[in-house]
């Protein structure tokens, strides 16, 4: 009982303990805010990539692609775990706008808009034809014209607050896409002056995936047009089949089953024409397929976590110093407590309990402060921008609307646990040395 009483009194009357609480609160505040924002950004980025790709991809990095995809799609459709499949042609080309001298390299993505809408979030990313993927390539101003969907950053500019200036309907812009068609052997299909293939499209819509490099370089065109532009040969080819699993099917299970089906399919096609192209095909889940983009962010997150270990070490050191000072000032109290029968373990428990309370209080204050700050972070950032022109993330560059501020409770629990543990570790040595103090040494001196 005396421990509780003394802990409360020490806490209320020793100003140095207020600094310890403040230090813990500050550390917790920083960790919660940065972890929330960073985790939010990474999770948001992962989710967008997942939605962009679907659950699984059967594909090749080769621009040549692979044949017999329709047969394999039928195989997949015949299973009980696949919900939707979408064949995709991927290539690179040159985009030019009629009446404009500018040319720019783009990523061409040939899709069946309906199938792609079923497999990915493509339908939701459209603006004028939102949730109408079947009409994605029909310009509103001329439904009979051959349309294309541009990544939003190819079509529109953003203001400093990240907002796009949308028109009521897409402007009538004629676009020319130029590409090198490749044969099954990977050679240019044509020679001489007619090396390239060009096709005119009309800007029918734009897609806003939220992934910067996709929105800034992707052009969606109908699958057949893409095959004509980018591939040559007797057999129709694609570069990937994107797959969406039924709900309840785990990523690893689904991927393994697709891989098994693919191996069987490949064996069955061993003697077919251009079957060597099937050897370059990989079955990957969306995380593996997009790892080149996700891994750096995850790496940054790991580095950040390592930096937070340093923050934790700092907390431990601050608590150590504070407790060392407290114990130094409270040597007499330790002697008195021992003279009235307190055990060494109880003395240790007193200071450990004190550290625990400091950890709990500091964490509590830090978490509440962080929660308040995060809940208003976008408002604060808006205010800073309005008043001082300062913007944490330039919305004209980064593909984020708001700064992520969703606090994960399990992350909070971990941070609080670590903060309390840090306090206990910091107080360990001073508490131990207090317990080992000989009362004779501390009681023989006058009041300090």
């Amino acid at each position: 009982m005396y421990k509780l009483t003394l802990i409360i009194r020490y806490l209320l009357r020793r100003r140095i303990t207020h600094f310890a609480v403040l230090a813990v609160a500050l550390c917790v505040f920083i960790v919660v805010v940065v972890m929330t924002i960073m985790t939010g950004l990474v999770e948001d980025f992962k989710q967008k990539n997942h939605q962009f790709v679907g659950d699984c991809v059967v594909g090749t990095d080769s621009l040549v692609g692979f044949p017999y995809y329709e047969e394999f799609m039928e195989t997949l459709r015949g299973t009980d775990f696949v919900q939707a499949v979408s064949p995709v042609v991927k290539s690179y080309g040159l985009l030019s706008v009629r009446g404009d001298s500018m040319r720019r390299g783009v990523e061409i993505m040939g899709i069946d808009p309906v199938l792609h809408g079923e497999t990915t979030s493509f339908a939701k990313t459209l603006h004028y034809r939102a949730n109408q993927p079947d009409r994605a390539f029909e310009p509103i101003y001329d439904p009979n014209a051959l349309g294309c969907v541009l990544g939003i950053d190819l079509a529109l500019l953003r203001n400093t607050q990240g907002q796009y200036a949308y028109d009521a309907q897409p402007p009538q812009v004629a676009i020319t896409l130029t590409c090198f068609p490749l044969t099954a052997r990977g050679a240019p299909a044509k020679v001489g002056a007619g090396l390239v293939e060009s096709q005119h499209f009309y800007y029918s819509d734009h897609a806003h995936s939220g992934i910067a490099h996709v929105d800034g370089s992707q052009v969606y065109i109908p699958l057949e047009q893409a095959q004509k532009l980018c591939m040559a040969g007797t057999l129709k080819r694609v570069n990937a089949i994107q797959i969406k699993f039924r709900s309840g099917v785990s990523l690893s299970q689904g991927r393994a089953r697709v891989a098994q089906l693919w191996q069987e399919f490949k064996r069955a096609k061993a003697d077919a024409q251009d079957s060597f192209l099937l050897d370059a095909v990989l079955v990957q889940d969306w995380k593996e397929y997009r790892r080149a983009y996700i891994a750096p962010m995850e790496k940054e997150q790991v580095l950040l976590s390592l930096m937070f270990i340093l923050v934790g070490v700092t907390t431990v050191f601050i608590v150590f110093v504070v407790f060392y000072m407290i114990v130094s000032h409270k040597r007499k109290d330790v002697g008195v407590l021992k003279s009235v029968g307190t055990s060494n373990v109880s003395i240790m428990a007193l200071f450990a309990g004190f550290a625990f309370v400091i950890g709990c209080l500091g964490s509590g204050i830090g978490v509440v402060a962080a929660w308040l700050f995060l809940s208003r972070i976008n408002w604060i950032e808006g205010l800073l921008f309005e008043r001082f022109g300062f913007q944490l993330w330039d919305r004209s560059i980064y593909a984020i609307g708001d700064i992520p501020n969703h606090v994960e409770f399990h992350v909070l629990a971990i941070i609080i646990g670590c903060a309390i543990l840090s306090c206990l570790v910091g107080a360990l040595f001073p508490a131990f040395s207090a317990a080992r103090l000989r009362p004779v040494e501390t009681l023989h001196t006058g009041p300090v």
Partner: protein, 232 residues
């Protein structure tokens, strides 16, 4: 001497401390017997080992050699837990510099030994009783008006009386006082000694350490400690 009347016995107690490279022998074979209800003063010059002897008798320190028995039980054979219990229940300490805890008020300082010996639950069950006992002691010691005061708000004499209250809280069989008037003026010191005399008249065994012969004269028996030994 009737063995049952002996409360405290020390035989051949030796204690030395290391001070840098040299070892200082503070007690060189102290023999001592205190009977129940006695008021004994141990007198000696500064550095003669009085406080060290008192700490050993109170179980705050252990001798290098020799035996200390309390009611026939050897303190050297007691484990840490038993020794803690001995200090909590059998002995009460009064120090020269009072050593009250600054964060606690007078009542809490007095109750401290009882709080130490109880868990949170048992404390809640008997806290009223403890408060009654502490209030009773405060009344006896003339501190009834100072219950909620902090140590720094008290005079030296009041602080020492509060310290005596703390020492008596658990009704110890032995009261050990280390220069209890050493930090007080003569009038206030006299008052403290009167308190000791009253307590002794009520049957309290007291062992007091002092360097002042006039103060020692207030005790029933005086033992002189010289060069770490009891002078015959």
């Amino acid at each position: 001497m009737d063995k049952s009347q002996v409360i405290l016995k020390a035989a051949g107690v030796r204690k030395s401390y290391r001070m840098g490279a040299t070892r200082v022998e503070v007690l060189r074979g102290v023999d001592l017997t205190v009977r129940k209800g006695e008021f004994v003063a141990i007198i000696g010059a500064s550095g003669s080992g009085k406080s060290t002897l008192l700490h050993i008798l109170g179980g705050l320190d252990r001798p290098d050699k020799g035996i200390v028995e309390f009611e026939g039980r050897d303190l050297n054979r007691m484990g840490a837990r038993q020794l803690n219990r001995y200090r909590n229940e059998m002995v009460g300490f009064v120090f020269q510099f009072y050593h009250l805890l600054d964060e606690l008020n007078v009542l809490e300082n007095i109750i401290l030994p009882t709080m130490v010996s109880h868990s949170v639950i048992s404390w809640f069950l008997m806290r009223q009783m403890a408060r009654r006992r502490a209030t009773e002691l405060l009344g006896q010691l003339g501190l009834k008006e100072r219950v909620r005061h902090k140590p720094y708000q008290l005079s030296g004499g009041e602080r020492q009386r509060a310290a005596i209250g703390r020492a008596l809280m658990n009704q110890p069989r032995l009261l050990l006082a280390d220069e209890p008037t050493g930090n007080l003026d003569s009038v206030t010191g006299n008052g403290i000694l009167s308190v000791f005399e009253q307590l002794n008249r009520a049957g309290q065994t007291i062992v007091m350490v002092t360097h002042d012969e006039r103060i020692a004269a207030r005790a029933q028996r005086t033992i002189v400690l010289e060069d770490g030994k009891i002078r015959a």
